[in-house]
């Protein structure tokens, strides 16, 4: 039966994806911060490595950046202090330029993007300062309006996004650069 076959394929695909996510990019060897000399127990829960922490914090910063932008974009507040929380450098500049342009055109953006970021690389397993993020962001519910009407007939959609997140002098993580691809690029 065709329907059954389709579901079998989907289930198999899901399994592969889950397995792919759970494998550690650093090779699966758990790392322990600080060298105690004691080998990690084979049955103990995996120790969280500095790279894992970096991945998690960088991903959170990345998501925070778009949440901040979405919040500021509801009023196109290009000078909002909030957009500085998770973005700096070129990333902050591009966001501010975008909001400024909308402000100038009397445009606001309603809703928020849907993101599914993955940390694609970490520069160092022991002392990471740069994490690269790959995302397929969906803007279907993050559209621009002017005078209560949709700004244009672009319905939004999925965009492939690459971002660079760096550890800041204070220890926090901020997005330093990002590249957003065309609609339909993922």
């Amino acid at each position: 039966m065709v329907t059954g076959n389709v579901w079998a394929v989907l289930v198999a695909a899901s399994t592969v994806v889950v397995a792919g996510c759970s494998s550690s990019p650093s090779g699966g060897t758990p790392r322990v911060a600080g060298s105690s000399g004691a080998p990690p127990s084979a049955t103990a829960p995996l120790a969280v490595s500095p790279a894992d922490i970096a991945r998690q914090q960088a991903t959170a910063a990345y998501l925070g950046m778009w949440q901040d932008m979405a919040a500021a974009a509801t009023t196109s507040d290009w000078q909002s202090p909030r957009i500085r929380q998770h973005a700096t450098g070129d990333a902050l500049l591009v966001i501010s330029k975008s909001l400024y342009t909308d402000h100038l055109n009397g445009v606001v953006t309603k809703g928020a993007p849907t993101d599914s970021p993955m940390a694609s690389s970490v520069d160092s397993p022991s002392a990471p300062i740069t994490v690269m993020i790959s995302d397929c962001g969906d803007s279907s519910n993050w559209l621009k309006y002017r005078n209560g009407q949709l700004f244009d007939d672009t319905p939004g959609g999925r965009r492939s996004i690459t971002a660079e997140v760096k550890k800041q002098p204070g220890g926090s993580w901020k997005v330093t650069r990002f590249a957003v691809e065309s609609l339909g690029s993922c």
Partner: protein, 341 residues
């Protein structure tokens, strides 16, 4: 009996049509799109036809402030160059100084001049700030540290621009660069930046719904498949950039991708419904039930080769791409084929 008519499916089926017409900015990432607005950061782009090493100033160069209701506008000098459109591709963009300034945390010039008001008369936009052609891709710094200049916003009008909205601010350094006329390659970059690649719609037969096992014909709307050109000129030098559509990469949403050498062949009225397209078609093997929205997301990416010539020189730009998206519902054939066979 099955009756098939080629129709526009882009809007009626899924309403997910995306093009590269620069006026599109309708989602929250509109002004971050690396194809339309090569911002700093786009050098991270993983390809896909974006021009990661471009400077935003490539958007245009004739910062002749047209001071419509712009109180602080510096109408900087006279005798600037103009961009001549290649016929229908004419885009008339005008620049105005803006009050934009980067957030304090972001890149900022070491010597920043408040854009509005002060020093206006002294400011003259520089022309042609692009790096020399062939330069290595490098991280975009906007603006370069220490450079004097200002942030300008610009509006474009002409066919394809449905209203004159402001575009994101670009940094234009102060001029003048006395006595240095633009090289043909620099003019070519200006012409390239004015190319307006069309946003054709995805067409398919059957209309409305594809059927498992029945060949789907794929093509792009004919009128917009063709050469696009734009010309940039200063007195004595004229350079034209030409984009040729070369091929179309189709992603059918079920994991299958392929490339067609051309725009595809429209389904002729009265042709055999079971016949396959001579050059661009696909036959789905599984229904789209169970997919998001019960449909396969389909994209068509047009690959363009871009060349330029003029002033006795010629060259090739990196390929450009435009991507268009829609969605196909695919049904079991017996579920729909109720009109007889």
């Amino acid at each position: 009996m099955l009756r098939r008519v080629g129709v526009v499916v882009g809007l009626s089926l899924a309403g997910l049509v995306a093009g590269s017409v620069p006026a599109f900015a309708g989602d929250g990432w509109g002004y971050s799109d690396c194809i339309q607005y090569p911002n700093p950061g786009c050098e991270l782009s993983v390809g896909k036809g974006s021009r990661g090493n471009s400077h935003p100033n490539a958007e245009g160069n004739h910062a002749q402030g047209q001071s419509k209701g712009n109180p602080g506008n510096a109408n900087p000098g006279s005798g600037g160059d103009t961009l001549l459109g290649g016929g229908q591709n004419l885009a008339n963009c005008s620049y105005q100084r803006s009050d934009f300034h980067p957030p304090s945390d972001a890149a900022q010039p070491a010597a920043f001049i408040p854009p509005w008001g002060t020093g206006v008369a002294a400011v003259q936009p520089a022309m042609f700030t692009l790096p020399a052609p062939g330069a290595q891709p490098q991280p975009v710094v906007e603006p370069p540290p220490g450079q004097l200049g200002a942030w300008y916003v610009y509006q474009c009008s002409g066919p394809g621009f449905r209203d004159a909205v402001y575009r994101p601010p670009v940094w234009i350094p102060d001029g003048p660069r006395a006595g240095a006329p633009p090289s043909p390659a620099e003019l070519a970059e200006q012409a390239r930046s004015q190319l307006r690649l069309p946003a054709p719609r995805i067409m398919a037969s059957p209309r409305n719904e594809q059927l498992v096992g029945l060949p789907t014909w794929l093509w792009l709307e004919r009128g917009s498949w063709g050469e696009v050109s734009a010309t940039a000129a200063v007195p004595g030098v004229s350079v034209t950039a030409v984009a040729h559509p070369r091929s179309v990469s189709w992603s059918m949403g079920d994991g299958t991708s392929f490339t067609c050498a051309g725009p595809g062949t429209p389904y002729p009225v009265g042709a055999d419904p079971k016949g396959t397209s001579p050059d661009c078609g696909y036959t789905y093997r599984w229904p789209s039930a169970g997919q998001s929205d019960q449909a396969y997301p389909v994209t068509a990416t047009v690959h363009w080769t871009v060349t330029w010539s003029g002033a006795g020189q010629a060259g090739v730009f990196p390929d450009m791409t435009t991507t268009f998206a829609t969605a196909f519902r695919v049904a079991e054939s017996q579920a729909v084929n109720t009109g007889g066979g």
